[in-house]
């Protein structure tokens, strides 16, 4: 299963081969001024010649100088939308006279997906959600039914302004977790894809497409694409020892400072490719004969998420932001054995007020200046406000 090279026509045939095998092919498209995943009919639906500019709270699409098909970073959606859907009917039940409620059989026919253009950070995110939904003794049947998707990865050549996968060691080069991985090479008249094979079904599919074996210069060119990308990350985060270092600053005054800027709007959690929280609600039909239990994406930023009897445990935005950040980067490790962050930068780009997780972590972990106690002496103790600087008279 050595690497091969296919041209643009070969890539079109690859997509057609997936479709002829009854895969619903989902890939990046340009929609409403952003890169959004959608079902495609063919390669012409991909955002050819487009790139993105991402900063905290800002996203713009621009034209490129070339016809690259994957010359942009990740958009607002992640593949979680397809594996862990925003709304899922868990079950329906019918009321039967003298019997009670009878559960209607599962009506969940999972689509047979092929995901094209999956980035390394997203493969890492899927791996993290695998632990959440498939780990332990109770696997989630809805997630499992969709998880067999065929994955065509694309190695990143254009990191976004808010990307920091290199810091989180989740990219930009995907080493596993795909059926096929493409590196797009665009230079002058050359437009080719170096294809690595990650599974036997990937190998099988590739056999239907005309290709030539990759030589060392092809492999070198492919490697150069991701090497260059890893040096152009828009953000960085010092991830060493983060779980312990964050656990030590739970009463830092900076949490209040972030809370004053945070809208509590849930955007960061819903664009995050690893956030997995949901709420479950029951509804009935008019006659009360049929009940439906529905699972809907939820967020640790809603009051309902931490509602126990009598009220919400995390009643302030400070509590909720701290819960989100420390879960993502600290307690997730104890819970699932990995960090909950893959460095995709979506929470930074899609925050309406541009709160930047890398900047906030830096502020929380910055060495304390002399004589300015910003960390309270004990957990739970009230935080002393920093003394105002003396103004010389």
């Amino acid at each position: 299963m050595g690497s091969v090279v296919i041209d643009r026509r070969g890539f079109e045939l690859l997509i057609a081969a997936l479709q002829s095998r009854d895969y619903k092919v989902v890939a990046p498209t340009a929609r409403d001024g952003a890169i959004a995943y959608d079902e495609i009919g063919g390669v012409s639906d991909l955002p050819a010649g487009l790139t993105d500019e991402q900063e905290a709270g800002s996203y713009r699409l621009w034209c490129r100088d070339d016809d690259a098909l994957f010359g942009y970073a990740v958009g607002p959606q992640s593949w979680k939308r397809y594996l862990f859907e925003p709304k899922t009917v868990v079950f329906r039940a019918q009321r039967v006279e003298r019997v009670g409620f009878v559960r209607a059989g599962p009506s969940d026919a999972a689509p047979r997906y092929a995901f094209v253009g999956v980035r390394s950070c997203e493969i890492a995110a899927i791996g993290i959600q695998d632990r959440v939904f498939l780990g332990g003794s109770h696997a989630d049947p809805h997630y499992r039914a969709r998880r067999d998707a065929f994955i065509v990865a694309v190695q990143c050549g254009e990191p976004g302004g808010t990307c920091f996968c290199a810091s989180m060691r989740t990219g930009p080069r995907a080493e596993a977790g795909f059926d096929l991985a493409l590196t797009e090479i665009v230079a002058g008249d050359r437009h080719e894809f170096v294809v690595e094979v990650g599974s036997s079904r990937g190998d099988d599919l590739l056999g239907q497409v005309p290709s030539r074996p990759a030589d060392s210069s092809d492999l070198g060119a492919a490697r150069a694409v991701t090497d260059s990308a890893s040096e152009r990350m828009g953000r960085r985060l010092d991830a060493d020892g983060l779980p312990e270092r964050l656990a030590a600053v739970l009463e830092h005054s900076h949490w209040d400072q972030v809370a004053s800027r945070c809208l509590g709007c849930t955007s960061c959690t819903l664009v995050c490719p690893t956030c997995f929280c949901s709420r479950v609600s029951d509804t009935t039909d008019l006659k009360g004969l049929e009940a439906t239990r529905t699972r809907t994406w939820d967020s640790c930023f809603t009051l309902g998420h931490s509602y126990l009897h009598g009220g919400s445990v995390r009643s302030t935005i400070r509590d909720r932001y701290r819960q989100w950040l420390t879960h993502k980067l600290s307690t997730w490790v104890a819970q699932f054995g990995t960090s909950g962050c893959v460095g995709c930068g979506r929470c930074i780009t899609w925050c309406p007020v541009g709160i930047d997780i890398t900047v906030e972590v830096q502020a929380l972990l910055a060495p304390l200046g002399p004589g300015r106690p910003t960390v309270s002496p004990g957990a739970g103790a009230p935080v002393e406000p920093a003394a105002p600087a003396e103004v010389p008279r």
Partner: protein, 286 residues
């Protein structure tokens, strides 16, 4: 308070005619729909439930609903109240409505926050009257437009200008079956993300009140590439100072922010406090 023994006179047993088993249906809950100061849009949402309307009408006794031609004296199991209180007669009428209603649910921004007509709360009604009307003495109006909850206890408040028909049906169904309504109080942002909308603030730089606005519309405006106008009022924990800072940084001056927040839910407490604070800072026209 002492309870006096009640002596009941002996009653002669009268045989009660019993209906055959299958004809004895439980009494249907009686529902009344009331209008106060409002545009009728919310109560028309009930008539707009085209597919479900006949089924709803079959499940409840629509006892009082002038838009549909029903009226009776009550009492009612469920009163849906549209509109705000803006005059003395309505102030007395809402107390009577409460007295004859087992459950009272307000529907829409007027009944829940005072509505667009609460803009009068920020001005001088006497002055408006003298400018607008030939005979101001004929107009009887209170100085403020107030939500129903300012006058009587309210069991549930359904948001929106107008309300969403799916949410209205859900609240009526929840009432009929004695369960909790599946209505969330998080932001419109959460609905955009569920729908798959691209954020109009981040991708287009538009002013959008979605982050501070109560969900329920299904992110209608952002779905059509418009910023949120805040029709559903403040969400459960709005951070208005952060929202205003964000709007300012995207080029909206304080006067524009005040105009954006002073619409259908101008008198909702969090929105009102935020706009008053901006005006008190003295930087923008009222």
């Amino acid at each position: 308070m002492t309870r006096e023994a009640v002596v009941t006179p002996p009653v002669r047993e009268v045989p009660v005619p019993r209906l055959p088993e299958r004809q004895r249906a439980p009494r249907k809950p009686s529902v009344a729909v009331w209008k106060f100061s409002s545009c009728d849009g919310c109560q028309l949402t009930l008539l707009d439930c085209e597919d479900e309307l006949l089924a709803v009408a079959g499940a409840v006794e629509l006892s009082y609903f002038l838009e549909a031609g029903f009226s009776s004296d009550g009492p009612y199991d469920l009163s849906l109240v549209e509109g705000s209180v803006t005059n003395e007669a309505d102030r007395r009428r809402i107390e009577r409505v409460r007295a004859v209603s087992k459950h009272l649910v307000t529907i829409g921004a007027c009944a829940t926050a005072g509505g667009i007509q609460a803009l009068r709360n920020f001005g001088d009604v006497e002055e408006f009257l003298s400018i607008v009307y030939a005979s101001p003495r004929l107009v009887e109006a209170l100085g403020e437009s107030t939500p129903i909850s300012a006058h009587v206890p309210v069991d549930y408040e359904l948001r929106g200008c107008p309300i969403t028909r799916a949410q209205l049906l859900e609240v009526v169904l929840a009432f009929l079956h004695g369960r909790r309504a599946d209505v969330v109080a998080s932001s419109v942002c959460s609905e955009c993300k569920l729908t798959g909308n691209v954020c109009v603030t981040v991708a287009d730089g538009m002013a959008c009140l979605g982050p501070v606005t109560h969900a329920g519309c299904g992110a209608l405006c952002p779905s059509y590439k418009r910023g949120c106008y805040g029709c559903f009022g403040p969400m459960e924990s709005p951070n208005l100072p952060a929202m205003i800072g964000g709007l300012n940084r995207r080029g909206l001056d304080d006067g524009s922010v005040v105009r954006l927040l002073r619409s259908f839910n101008a008198a909702a407490p969090q929105f009102q406090a935020a706009t008053q604070a901006l005006i008190e800072m003295g930087e923008c026209p009222t």
